[in-house]
């Protein structure tokens, strides 16, 4: 065996990689190519598929105002959630990065916890709080501020709330990683040159934390725009997002060619966002949170 290795060192990495590479190829690359082909097939009235090259699905996806509106709604919800994550996440990330107390480790550990707590539990937990017999309504009824339970749940606002709750740890972690890598001497230098604390933050710390902000935003946006669970649990009938259309087409209507076209459209839009990001930032920033 070892003599063999010396002869052909080039073969070993491929040998080691082959299972993972086969998995990625057979379970991701080939299937995605496959749905590209599938999206040009046609669903027949009988429920089967007609093999061929039809543009009908794509024509429907690209021209139907219904799909366009839901796509815009999806991007809007994802964008608002991302901005809220930035607004809510920057300060805690800054606090963790700059804190010198022994609480720092605890804060970081707590930050990791939500990743472990089931997404579906965290999403449905809001029903306990905002539902008709949830904590908020019970409290408001008890204080006498309201006499009828409020209908707060099941609208776009609660979908955004659920998404922010789900995505915030991703944002804080990415900003923290970025802030933690900044040499504190830089802000000290700025201060000693006469900057106020705010100026030092604006001119030194903030620009240096942009990579983390960008990586966090990318993650939040892509994860947010690709979800269908949150709108199903916390949204009303009119708050469907694009991934819900995919789910509808594939699981409920069994219209697989249309479902393929819809999921490719989603992939294209989010892929463009990822491309834009890698163009300016590079994918390595994302890997940093794992170190």
């Amino acid at each position: 065996m070892s003599a063999n290795d010396a002869d052909a060192p080039g073969a070993r990495p491929w040998l080691l990689m082959s299972p993972a590479l086969a998995a990625v190829t057979l379970l991701l690359v080939v299937p995605v190519c496959f749905i590209v082909v599938y999206s040009f097939w046609l669903r027949t009235a009988a429920g089967g598929e007609q093999v061929g090259f039809f543009l009908d699905n794509w024509a429907e996806v690209l021209t139907d105002a219904f799909y366009r509106d839901i796509l815009i709604q999806t991007l809007r919800i994802a964008a608002i959630s991302t901005v809220l994550c930035i607004l809510l996440g920057y300060v805690p990330a800054y606090f963790i990065a700059r804190s010198t107390t022994r609480h720092k480790a605890v804060l970081i550990l707590l930050l990791m916890l939500p990743f472990w707590i089931s997404y579906i539990i965290r999403t449905m937990s809001w029903i306990n709080i905002l539902g008709v017999s949830g904590a908020l309504n019970v409290f408001l009824l008890w204080t006498g501020i309201i006499s009828e339970p409020l209908q707060i749940l099941y609208n776009e606002g609660t979908v955004i709330l659920g998404l922010v709750h789900f995505l915030l740890p991703f944002m804080i972690l990415n900003i923290y990683v970025s802030l933690d890598g900044i040499d504190p001497n830089l802000t000290d230098a700025a201060r000693s040159l006469g900057c106020t604390a705010w100026q030092a933050f604006r001119e030194v710390t903030l620009p240096l934390s942009v990579p983390g902000l960008a990586a966090g935003s990318l993650l939040c946006f892509v994860l947010g725009a690709g979800t269908y669970i949150t709108p199903m649990i916390l949204g009303g009938p009119r708050d469907a997002m694009f991934a819900n259309l995919v789910f509808e087409a594939i699981i409920t209507q069994l219209n697989w060619p249309l479902g393929s076209a819809l999921s490719l459209a989603l992939l294209a839009v989010l892929g463009a966002v990822v491309m834009l990001y890698t163009r300016y930032a590079g994918i390595n920033q994302l890997a940093k949170s794992f170190r």
Binding site: L28, G89, P92, M124, N128, P169
Partner: protein, 268 residues
């Protein structure tokens, strides 16, 4: 003096804001755990005292116990398969130079970048086209493919930090490649391997997005079971199940982290 005061108050504002954000992240989950112990018949507020009745109800609910077993089996198999092939791939990517390395590294991370729904649809339709019906193995394959990037990222990061000299020393003392890996490299990257196992297990245990597409009729994992129960209404049993999930998915990594730290300490 006033500037110090100003700074101080700025910092306390930052701290107060941080506390509020942490409350936002954890309060809803705390409410779930609290309500799981609710004696109230409808499981909602106001609480009427503490009780374990909903946990007992869980224990006697066959569907939930079955879902639980499915989830544990699926999560464990996913963790083993994903970590094994992930470690092998990381070794290749970190320890060897070859053509197309950049492309392959990107390919390994690609499952994170592709929206899970798209991944789910693609895999489902491809296997359908191959005339393989929805089955437990499909579910397993699906979970392996989207946990793989996490394992690769974690193990790679650790492997980069392990100096090559240790391996070269073992080799020069006559150990073959496999021996070197088992006796030198593996112990050194064990914390990361362990982290990979836990990551893969919890991601699989939690997943609902892909699982809803892939699961065969009649098979439920814990999250899809909760999802199905939510369709009716929020019952106290869901809160109890949620509490159990929280305990498992939080305890497993915490115990894991403690073990990993001990392992890392033993290496030093």
């Amino acid at each position: 003096m006033s500037m110090v005061l100003q700074l101080f108050s700025g910092w306390s504002l930052i701290r107060a804001f941080t506390v509020l954000v942490y409350l936002f992240m954890f309060l809803p989950v705390a409410v779930v755990v609290l309500l799981a112990f609710n004696a109230n018949q409808f499981g909602s507020f106001p609480m009427e005292g503490l009780s374990l009745r909903w946990f007992v109800a869980l224990w006697h609910n066959d569907a939930i116990v079955r879902a639980f077993k499915t989830s544990v089996l699926l999560g464990s198999l996913t963790a083993v398969v994903s970590t094994t092939i992930g470690v092998m791939a990381s070794l290749a990517l970190v320890r060897f130079d070859f053509r197309g390395k950049g492309l392959i590294t990107t390919a390994m991370i690609a499952p994170i970048l592709v929206p899970e729904v798209v991944l789910a649809v693609a895999l489902l339709l491809f296997l359908r086209w191959l005339e393989m019906p929805k089955s437990f193995p499909l579910l397993l394959l699906g979970h392996v493919i989207f946990t793989l990037p996490f394992v690769v990222l974690i193990v790679q990061a650790r492997l980069v930090a392990v100096r090559r000299e240790y391996e070269e020393a073992a080799m020069s003392l006559g150990a073959n490649a496999f021996h070197t890996f088992r006796e030198v490299t593996l112990p050194l990257i064990m914390p990361a391997v362990f982290a990979g196992v836990i990551f893969a297990f919890t991601i699989s245990f939690d997943d609902v997005t892909g699982t809803l597409f892939w699961k065969p009729g009649g098979v439920e994992t814990v999250p899809t079971q909760i999802f199905a129960m939510l369709r009716n209404s929020i019952s106290p049993e869901i809160n109890a199940l949620g509490a159990v999930m929280v305990v498992i998915t939080v305890a497993v990594p915490l115990i894991g982290a403690a073990l990993a730290r001990r392992m890392a300490a033993a290496l030093k």
